[in-house]
Symmetry: C2
């Protein structure tokens, strides 16, 4: 039962498609290159000299030729679109990650469909369901919502950033255990005895456990009590502030804070100063993430710097390998760095006091 109206429409489109093909030849003739080269310039495939790109683009501009991408997609069954899901690009860490992902994908000829999940499971779910309609060639997921059923059925190439989705979906992450160990040891080495770790819990439970485990282990090694304050990933800012105020009420003698993200570290720094703590003399603070914008806005904050650019580069490389059907590692863990700042004491200054701990 063939619907003749639809077939007629498709034949009509087909003719338009052929007209486009003829124009592709015109571009090739004008630029003095082959049709294949024009096609490769349009799709940014293979290695192309800037001279060739410029020649072809000049010819396209002169003819006012814009390739019909939709017809191409029907022909190739590829969209050259990659979907990126992040909690929110308004967060400096995810904003910077998205910037590097977009740039790395652009270099490979892909364009980026972005979705801010905004910590809404329903939004992530609906978005994913739409993407399954072959609108993207692959997905990069960095959200923290509940494990969605959708990911179990997805037959698209997917790469996750700092999140476990499914056994066969590769993960790129920085070394959360090493980072938390570095941060905790930095505080202990500088004489802190009453240290609190603050971190954000989320249902995907990938990195937070690692950071908390490292904190617990280092504190136990030094026979110090490990105190942890958690807040849910979707906790409203006012509630988060109230929770941190309670932290100071309950532990007025706190002399070290390891905050598992820089936004919380900055908030704690501000609350501590308002309560009259001298930082770092009375209280030392270290954050986590080290996004460029955060480092520019709060240059004094000590932090653990995640290699955001490299995380993005590796995620894109992995996704390209998955799309090409190549072998990929299950997880790729990248090293982190300690950035000291004015919220930590200078090591070796007399004020640290505990020589024994300095041996670490």
């Amino acid at each position: 039962m063939i619907n003749h109206v639809i077939i007629k429409k498709i034949l009509h489109k087909g003719r338009n498609l052929i007209m486009k093909k003829l124009k592709l030849e015109d571009v090739a003739a004008l630029a003095g290159v082959s049709k294949t080269t024009v096609s490769r310039v349009i799709n940014r495939r293979g290695s192309l000299s800037q001279k060739t790109i410029d020649k072809v683009e000049a010819a396209m501009a002169q003819l006012n030729y814009h390739p019909n991408v939709i017809a191409q997609q029907l022909h190739t069954q590829r969209t050259n679109l990659i979907g990126i899901l992040v909690p929110s690009v308004a967060n400096p860490f995810f904003g910077e990650l998205t910037m590097y992902l977009e740039d790395a994908l652009f270099q490979r000829g892909y364009k980026v469909l972005i979705s801010d999940a905004l910590n809404q499971t329903a939004k992530e779910e609906r978005y994913l369901s739409q993407l399954m309609g072959h609108q993207v060639d692959g997905l990069i997921i960095a959200t923290h919502n509940n494990k969605l059923e959708e990911y179990q059925h997805a037959n698209l190439p997917i790469v996750a950033i700092d999140r476990f989705l499914r056994a066969d979906i590769p993960v790129v992450a920085s070394d959360n255990y090493a980072g938390a160990k570095l941060a905790t040891e930095a505080l202990i080495q500088r004489g802190c005895q009453h240290i609190i770790h603050t971190y954000t819990t989320n249902p995907s439970n990938w990195h937070d456990n690692q950071r908390e485990k490292a904190f617990q282990a280092v504190m136990a090694d030094h026979h110090l009590p490990a105190i942890t304050y958690t807040t849910a990933f979707d906790c409203p800012p006012a509630e988060r502030t109230a929770r941190f105020e309670r932290l100071f009420d309950e532990h007025p003698a706190v002399d070290g804070i390891f905050a598992s993200n820089d936004l919380d570290a900055a908030r704690l720094l501000s609350l501590a100063r308002a309560r009259g703590y001298r930082v770092p003399a009375d209280l030392q603070i270290i954050g986590y993430d080290g996004a460029q914008a955060t480092q520019e806005l709060v240059p004094e904050l000590a932090t653990i710097i995640q290699p955001i650019e490299q995380m993005a580069t590796y995620a894109v490389k992995l996704l390209a390998d998955r799309m090409a059907g190549e072998f990929t590692p299950t997880s790729t863990v990248l090293p982190v760095n300690l950035k000291t700042g004015q919220t930590l004491k200078t090591l070796g200054s007399s004020s640290t006091g505990t020589d024994e701990l300095l041996e670490e």
Copy 2:
């Protein structure tokens, strides 16, 4: 001259398309709704109850049915994609703007193609050229590169944010003149006599002139010298810092700084503190933008808050109107707010000194 191979391929795709149609009927039958309703759920068009959405999505999940978006696009000549070009989502202002744009577009059934121009004219140009191939239904532009030739020929609906592109492209902006006036008057009212304005120049020259004009006018009204330091929009961070160091070398008596963005304000605050200025006793500082992340990271910073959410909402509304062929205003200017903070003196405190100016 019809190419029979291509026609054959298209007929083959046509059959697949018809098979998808049959599956759409299956979804409708299983969900107990009409085919039109299924189609509306897929495309998020018209008003739908959550109950209907849930029923249809459950049926789609049960049949493992994913609509073939590419075939739909060929049929409707619409992609339901909107392209957003920003300088960089790693910047808290543009990250937040992108988040709100994406959310407003998602509510209307659109998905977002994002490009970080990264202040590279060549990248913006290449990206635009690709988008002209009907891959998007509309564009929202917030970049600051040179006026590109492409925008002159674009026959797509376009909305610009805080940037002039072409006489018939509507602009959404916040009130840059009023914002700069508020900031400058806030410093003068609090006793500043030696005020410096720092701002970033960019080739699109839309908002900066307004802010500089307001600064000049307010200073002239108060018979105060108007000193301005400019940096190019693509100035590397280290060079920008060097320029600000020179500002303090050349004007050690500076007692007020109006920085036309919060990143610069935070940088100036940090440099001033390192030089021993007491803020706000010796030097008062006010920034511009007021992104949420910036307010969280540097809560003490006084700033002019742009209505980022409303700018995004209006831009999306305008774009929807343009796409529907409706009448739209040329420019839409939204009000800004002064956020006082610990980098400004408290008004009325005895330390401000100049009673005369307090009458403002």
